[in-house]
Amino acid sequence: MTLHDCRDAFAHTLCALAEQDERIVAVVNDSVGSSKLGGFQKSFPERLINVGIAEQAMVGVAAGLAAGGRIPFVSAASCFLTARAMEQIKVDIAYSQHHVVLCGQSPGVAYGELGPTHHSPEDLAWLRAIPGMTVLVPADAAETAAAVRWAAAHDGPVFLRVSRMGVPEIFPSDLDFQPGVATTLREGGDVTIVCMGTTVAASLDAAQALAAEGIEATVLSMGSLAPLDRQAIVAAARHTGGLVTVEEAHVSGLGGAVAEVVVEECPVPVRRLGLRDFARTGSTSWLMQQAGLEPVAIASAAREVAGLRT
């Protein structure tokens, strides 16, 4: 199975859009290489604004560029972009309702052995608490490209997670991306697995393994955490009687959001798989495994939930 680095789709799509729309600029914090924006820099040297290692100013500068008629894509490691510049994200971008796309590169535990200073499990929980912020977590190259195109056309603040972790193809290349609309990748009546981003492929593998033992799982892929497809979550909860959430983030991200809907609308058992503690030292794949973000652990949680149904 071929695995793809979603940064390639991100950079390629951004270049194509910039070719057609000269308002598009990229704003980076010495992160040209890590964002794979070398091609953008070569094609549009004036429109690649590298502010240096200065995240607070980077986000403020993006707000000013938006006020000046540009469409900035801020591209920086998610750990620094979100944690260092959160007040600028809240005030300069979201409260100010600027059309700025904040691209959180290599989020979650993508930086593996570099450790918790470089991980960003918190970003989803933080960003989803900010009013008006669209939070997108694409699962593969096609969804990343479609999300970038949607964000370029959406007149408002967007946070877009872009992973470097290799992921297989899940969506068709002509995907018409709509935030707030979940995609049902598999239908079953026994349990629902709600996933996003880098955990979608493992969730599908888990559903396949469960089917072999007679447990049929629905797999819901959430391309956007905010807005959240509440209707799809409620329908799945009613249909299957229990849910498992799976995310490469702190469980207060997708897990928290789904649990809130379930508690408010139709209480059923929920298990949340994701990150809870500062990560130990290890590779990305090992950390994903430790967090239960692989097929065996997902299937195990789904089996447990299926058994809890009343």
Partner: protein
């Protein structure tokens, strides 16, 4: 914009301070000390310097010290950019005149400010956008001096100098006082002019209550081609009211009725 006479600007500044006094007294809130220190800067900018023409050539103004919102609102009304009658709504339920200025609530406000250290990075972005457009539009950012303790300002100064943004102007309302104490006794800024020069900016120090001096400095940028300009405007918190001037407590104290009457008389006589 045609140069306004010093007398016209002085009269406008008196009206703005009197409005400010009324608004703060009625609302029971505001930051009158810092509003009075920055009033002459705002009045000079809006009435004698900034090109308010619509379209892409309009100059930008960012009041980074957003807690001086009432001075901004009263100045906008003086400049005809906000209906005079709207001023009474300050801080009332669902008013467009929030305690700190919000660009989404009021068209004439270009940046939502309040948390300190946000305005200069935004201004740098505006100036980069103008440079990309090959536009002559200028960007003016007003900060408080205590605000310069925020590191984001110095990030922005480096970016502005590195990119040679010589249509960008930083105005420091150098009243010497922050919320609870003198800046010099909290985390001193001096030698401020030397620091700004070392960061690649052209620097001038002026009397921040002298409309003519402010006008001359602001109208003549860039003072050094290829460098952004910084005006250190020496001001007094609470100016020109004798019992408010240079007193830290007036950062956000609301005058009693007697104090307001005294202050009114002193502003009218100024």
């Amino acid at each position: 914009m045609p140069a306004a006479s010093a007398d016209e600007l002085a009269a406008a500044a008196r009206r703005v301070r009197l409005r400010d006094l009324d608004i703060v007294s009625n609302a029971g809130m505001g930051h009158i000390g810092g509003e009075f220190s920055v009033t002459d800067i705002l009045v000079t900018l809006y009435l004698a310097v900034v090109d308010q023409g619509d379209g892409s050539e309009r100059d930008h103004v960012v009041l980074s010290k957003g807690h001086a919102a009432v001075a901004l609102y009263a100045t906008l009304a003086e400049a005809g950019l906000l209906p005079e009658g709207d001023l009474d709504s300050f801080a009332q339920p669902d008013s467009a005149l929030n305690g700190h200025p919000a660009r989404t609530k009021l068209d004439a406000v270009e940046a939502s400010t309040g948390p300190l250290g946000h305005g200069l990075p935004i201004g740098v972005g505006m100036a980069i956008a103008a440079a990309l457009d090959n536009s002559p539009r200028r960007t003016f950012v007003i900060v408080g001096d205590g605000e310069l303790q925020e590191g984001s300002n110095w990030e922005a100064m480096m970016i502005a100098a590195h990119r040679g943004l010589d249509r960008l102007v930083l105005i420091v309302d150098r009243n010497g006082l922050q919320q609870g104490a003198p800046v010099a006794e909290t985390s001193d800024l001096e030698p401020l002019a030397d620091k700004l020069r070392a960061f690649g900016w052209a620097v001038r120090e002026v009397d921040g209550h002298d409309h003519g001096a402010l006008q001359e400095a602001l109208q003549s940028i860039p003072w050094e081609p290829g460098r952004p300009s910084a005006v250190i405007a020496r001001t007094h918190k609470g100016h020109p009211v004798s019992f408010m001037s240079d007193v830290a407590a007036w950062h956000h104290r609301v005058p009693t009725a007697d104090e307001a009457a005294l202050a009114r008389a002193e502003v009218e006589a100024s």
